[in-house]
């Protein structure tokens, strides 16, 4: 199968790419002519909700993102926060909801792989992971399959890669019957003076492809992540990506080794819409053009078209701008780790994104417009209706309180989640001080006598449904409390905003109000949001998930010898209730 670049662009084709007629008008203007088929694919990848945040950008801008501790806020692969002694913590959370619903093991696994890559692309060695999971009711016929696939996928990838999972959430509710949520968090530690960014610098420098080969995995995946599910979901299956944690572990070691060698000018991992997004981002940020020669791209399948290569979401790949004099050294490092290393293009000074394939120029687009001029919508929204307080007296008092407590504790949502986190390696790296099961996971900072980092992930979606503003605030406050409860000073946070279809004003209202609540709480607590992710269109047949703005936070314990734990209680201790 080859896809010709000369396929005529019809309104149907435009629609199938998730591009509206108005957006297409704009695309034609910016291109200066009808786009080619490959170009249409590139535009759609850059302008879909997933990559461009076109529905949420206006509101995300209102979040507090700065503070004396913040070294890098949103906009890079991950946020960076100072932890003193010349070191920083690099972290982010990202969703892989739609892929996990379609193929739970691989969807969850590649979600974990993606977030780990975001962290080590910046030069940080990952030291902790969390996963916030939401499934339909336990009785629903799909739930068991999804839970077992997702949990083993999260573990399968993280355990093999070698990062301890120190926290997370598992919750069941009928509103997730048609859309499970898989939000993966990762944090790493780097030297403050050795952070790597995606901004390309310098004209005529080699653009290098690193990691695994390109296949047809997930072609159209970014488009899929931005579309609502219908009953035709089965037809979307061939876009599944398969994760290879072994290759990712090798990629981690090779990248960190390469970074110490001084060869790297800019680096960007290939996530959604792989080669397209990574190359455009590097060029657009650096005010440079990029020219790619697809004949040089390592491929694992025959006769791949330019369109497929540009949109492939094959995992475990990176793009880098290299200091030319370091080429041989860099190559040797990648050969040692058994990874592909190929010069696939160069930086230019003409601000064009040019793609060559088999002697033909299959795309030639303005790079800044691709990267920065995605549409931004001020979608109509309505104030979410106020929920009536429930009158407690309408419920009969339980006859037997002990039995009632047992029922609560034994329920799927309240019971211990040990059955989940025992499938994750919580100890690897030898620095775990508090495992899942407490208020926050704690990991000591390698090579430091007393310092440790605390991690927690929280949100209570039913509160957000009742009142998105208060629910957003509450998620931040709970995360903050979990960090302080182990004795950590909260540093900063990351968010993963999971909502339904933003084209519906009531859903857009949830998003707007939740962001306002999160912003207010973060502002009040001095707990800036330094990275994040938005996942919209979590709906099946018109029914949306509960609004789920997951908040993950990082705190610093200057001295872990005075850390608090939930298990330190002894008989006869007095119990205090603090707070309002």
């Amino acid at each position: 199968m080859t896809i010709r670049n000369s396929i005529p662009i019809t309104p149907e084709l435009v629609e199938a790419h998730g591009i509206t007629p108005e957006e297409y008008e704009r695309i034609r203007d910016l291109t200066g002519r009808e786009p080619t088929f490959t170009e249409l694919g590139i535009w759609s990848a850059m302008w879909n909700e997933h990559c461009s945040y076109k529905s949420s950008k206006k509101w995300l801008k209102t979040l507090p993102t700065t503070g004396p501790q913040v070294i890098q806020g949103p906009g890079e692969n991950a946020g960076v926060v100072d932890i003193g002694d010349g070191e920083c913590v690099v972290f982010k959370m990202e969703s892989h909801n739609h892929p996990s619903y379609i193929e739970p093991y691989q969807g969850a696994a590649t979600g974990v792989g993606g977030i780990l890559r975001d962290v080590f692309t910046m030069g940080a060695r990952p030291v902790a992971a969390m996963n916030a999971l939401r499934f339909g009711e336990p009785e629903h016929p799909k739930t068991r399959h999804l839970v077992s696939g997702v949990v083993s996928g999260v573990g399968g990838y993280g355990n093999s890669f070698g990062v301890p999972t120190v926290g997370g959430e598992v919750e069941f509710d009928a509103r997730y019957n048609g859309n499970c949520l898989v939000n993966a968090f990762a944090a790493g530690i780097a030297r403050t003076d050795a952070i790597f960014l995606s901004e390309a610098k310098g004209v005529g420098l080699p653009v290098v492809y690193l990691g695994a080969k390109t296949g047809r995995d997930g072609v159209g995946g970014a488009t899929m992540a931005s579309a609502e599910f219908g009953d035709d979901i089965d037809q979307k299956r061939p876009t599944v990506q398969v994760g290879d944690p072994f290759t990712e572990k090798c990629l981690l070691e090779a990248c960190l080794e390469l970074m110490t060698s001084g060869a790297v000018i800019a680096i960007q991992d290939m996530g959604a819409a792989g080669l397209t997004c990574s190359a455009v981002e590097m060029g657009a940020k650096g005010d440079l053009g990029i020219e790619l020669d697809l004949d040089k791209v390592p491929v694992r399948e025959e006769r791949m078209s330019a369109y497929e290569m540009m949109l492939s979401e094959s995992q475990e790949r990176m793009l880098m701008v290299l200091r030319p004099e370091k080429e041989n050294e860099a190559k040797a490092i990648f050969a040692k780790w058994g990874l592909d290393f190929a010069i696939v293009g160069r930086t230019t000074d003409d601000l064009r994104f040019r793609i060559l394939h088999q002697g033909e120029e299959v795309a030639n687009l303005p790079i800044k417009e691709l990267g920065d001029e995605a549409p931004e919508y001020d979608r109509p929204w309505i104030e979410p209706g106020a929920w009536q307080a429930i009158d407690a007296s309408q419920f009969p008092e339980p006859d037997d309180y002990a039995d009632a407590i047992l029922q609560v504790l034994g329920s799927a949502n309240m019971c211990s989640k040990r059955w989940v986190w025992e499938q994750y390696d919580t100890l690897i790296q030898g620095n775990s001080l508090q495992l899942p099961g407490g208020d926050a996971g704690v990991v000591r900072v390698d090579g430091h006598e007393t310092k440790a980092l605390a991690f927690s992930s929280d949100v209570t979606p039913r509160y957000c449904e009742a009142d998105p503003f208060e629910g957003g605030k509450q998620a931040v406050a709970e995360c903050w409390r979990n960090l302080t409860a182990v004795g950590a000073e909260p540093l900063a946070s990351t968010d993963n905003l999971n909502f339904g279809n933003p084209e519906r004003p009531e859903i857009m209202g949830q998003l707007v109000r939740a962001i306002a609540g999160i912003g207010e709480a973060c502002e009040a607590l001095g707990f800036p949001i330094v990275s994040g992710n938005v996942s919209l269109y979590n709906e099946t047949n018109g029914e949306a998930i509960l609004p789920t703005p997951t908040i993950a936070g990082v705190g610093l314990l200057p001295d872990y010898s005075v850390m608090a734990r939930i298990s330190a209680m002894q008989e006869g201790d007095a119990i205090f209730l603090l707070g309002g």
Partner: protein, 82 residues
Amino acid sequence: MTTARIVVTLKNGVLDPQGKAIEGALGTLNFQGVGKVRQGKVFDVELDTKDRAKAESDLNAMCEKLLANTVIEDYAVEIVEE
């Protein structure tokens, strides 16, 4: 009794990290001229029936429901012995 062999293989184009690692290892062990290697699974299943048609339909159902992940895998059922 019926004995069947089910072979489950990855669909074309789906990444096979195991196959890839094996290709590399065969190279390290100095085997020449090894092209693609793809790894799959085989299940040998004993069924307590002599009815071939029923056995086949049951085995196909087992593949659909459990043994194969039809999102990324194909399967083939073969009756070995009746």
